[in-house]
Symmetry: C2
DNA sequence: CCATGCGCTGGAAGCGCTCTCAGTGCCGTG
DNA sequence: CACGGCACTGAGAGCGCTTCCAGCGCATGG
């Protein structure tokens, strides 16, 4: 029925209310400068006819779309194995709703998709974009910049061109990692190992840096690369136990990794936290609370990150002013600047 | 820059190629009925100018939007605690991309949001909708039907009005549950318990029905209501062990529930599967493979469900024919019918 | 060689909306 | 009592695109 009974137009409402299209338009858009009795009449006509403005027609003239693209690169299935994006999406969604904007989700698979995304962004279908750029070699940041669409990144983007000035929202990965390791050291542990995340992602690198900040002259064998997955955690943990049987603590790059490590530790008869203390990162509840023992970890407010991203984007959009896009700079220009959210240590049983 | 250098219009391309707007339009839309040399010239002009059609203008006349709404009700945080939706989204996204359609994500929180969603759907912003209707009392199905937007549901919707004729994609929950329980029985277990899902959702009810199909005269104390979460699984398992210490098998409504149950069993010194065999549902990899012991479970192809939903929707859209929406029926009308996907038993160590 | 018809191209209308600008009625003021 | 000014309303011009329709040129048949 989408068009069976052609949806009423401004014209129809105007006729019914006995006013002009212009007046109806004014009422629909806030009713500024229209006398009360008329407003009332128009409102009633709108109601009776079930009038809903045609967004396409509106966009055509206003050049606004009340829509924001959310671009998520998911080269690996992994992306979906944890609730990370889901939570960010929720935060984003809330903020967008508050601004009466729609969320257009762009999931990109392989390289081929990038062209599609680029075209879409450049096509001016959306007012702005929120891009999750996870990898150093990710072309997305550059793409977004070139498309000239105001953009906010989720997580510090890599070293792509034009990335330097990018606005992003991130957790304090480095600081959080420091807290985690300090906690371990404070527990009297001297042989602290680190299972990194996938080092192609800034978050993994930042956490590693944080680890090194505290463990200045660490035995390099105590650092093993993981990939943010439980399986990677298992693999790394096995390797660690083999190379350094005397380790007494592990800082895992995220909770999933920690859960894998925990399993190996248990299988090899190491008691946690007595023999080996373990700290994770994320405080992903379904994971962190369900491990055995429950995981001491670094919490980051993921939903808030999403909300904040959207919020920054809107701020940038406002700066540009609806329609009078003077700013020739890339993306957000001199608008809002990046935000790094603090993390907190959550103590449970594992350390 | 969104408009800094105003994006080239058809007009501009036409001028550059030395043809009329009409011809450019034809070329851009497939080039039917335009002579080759002209096509070439126009293509080049498009290329040089970096022309991208203005979707708003196009929609205005074609009444197509090349966009599909995905509506997800998430009354509880729970929804995001498992990768279920993420996987479906991926399947949906793939299919939409193949059809050059965009994915507009509508996350609805409370009741208040429903009005918003209804307005959006009725507003004719999208060509169709994919709705995840999880609860019996969910107003979403009715809402979608009333909006007159072709709709496909994810999971069998509840008993809402107009729901009877709804097109949906679901797993064979009942059949899968039967398989699970039969497997347990085949293992020689006689005291098989069931921890249900949240019974406000059709999937939970269907699985319970499947359980009952096999365990015809089951001791009612062997059935305890859960809520699809690990915590719920723990709670239910404790209750079960208390009421029926002699149980020798558990069929959990999903893997998350099973993981909780497993924890309790271990804590209470029951060996799995020796003392108590456990079967889950979903085959959610990060969960099912990581439990101790790894979970025997019923696999459903979640991504495929998503893909299929989108596919059915497009079929319905085609039936309507672009623009000549004659069908006055609700939703998809006499088009494609619902699909129930088969499930398979995946044997691991827990049963 | 001319009539007929087909295939291609361009002109122009209009999708539903916003917004400028001119016009209307009314008030206050001189 | 007449006039300037103000507040509000309406007419109309597009936004960029698709599509109907008329018109043109060409190949073919008579």
């Amino acid at each position: 029925m989408t068009e069976t009974a052609p949806r009423p137009t401004l014209e129809a409402v105007a006729a019914r209310a006995g006013v002009s299209r212009a007046t109806v338009s004014r009422v629909v858009n806030g009713g500024q400068g229209v006398r009360e009795p008329l407003v009332e009449r128009v409102r009633r006509a709108v109601e009776e006819l079930g009038y809903v403005p045609n967004q396409a027609a509106r966009s055509l003239v206003t050049k606004r779309h009340d829509a924001v693209a959310v671009v998520i690169a998911e080269p690996e299935t992994r992306v979906f194995a944890d609730p990370f994006f889901a939570l960010q999406l929720r935060g984003i969604s809330k903020e967008l709703t508050a601004h009466d904007s729609q969320l257009v989700l762009l999931l990109t698979g392989g390289r081929a998709d990038h062209a599609r995304v680029g075209r879409y962004l450049a096509g001016g279908h959306v007012d702005g974009a929120l891009v999750f750029s996870l990898h150093f070699d990710d072309p997305l940041p550059e793409l977004a910049q070139r498309a000239g669409v105001p953009t906010v990144f989720g997580g510090r983007p890599g070293w792509g061109e034009g990335t330097r000035s990018a606005v992003y929202v991130d957790s304090d990965n480095r600081g959080g990692a420091r807290d985690a390791v300090r906690h371990l050291v404070g527990l009297g542990r001297g042989r602290v190992a680190h299972i990194t995340g996938a080092l192609g992602q800034t978050s993994a690198v930042d956490r590693l840096d944080g680890f090194r900040d505290v463990m200045v002259d660490v035995d390099p064998r105590l650092i093993v690369e993981g990939d943010f997955t439980p399986a990677g955690g298992e693999r790394a943990m096995r390797l660690l136990l083999e190379r350094c049987p005397d380790l007494d603590a592990v800082f895992a790059a995220n909770d999933l990794t920690a859960s894998g490590a925990l399993r190996v530790l248990r299988a090899q008869g190491r008691r946690v936290p007595e023999d080996v203390a373990v700290v994770g990162f994320d405080d992903m509840l379904p994971v962190a609370e369900q491990t055995d023992p429950p995981l001491t970890t670094i919490r980051q407010d993921i939903e808030e990150m999403g909300r904040l991203m959207a919020s920054l984007l809107f701020r940038a959009l406002e700066r540009r002013g609806g329609g009078s896009y003077r700013d020739a700079g890339s993306g957000v220009g001199g608008g809002p600047s990046s935000v790094v959210l603090p993390t907190t240590l959550v103590r449970r049983a594992s350390a």
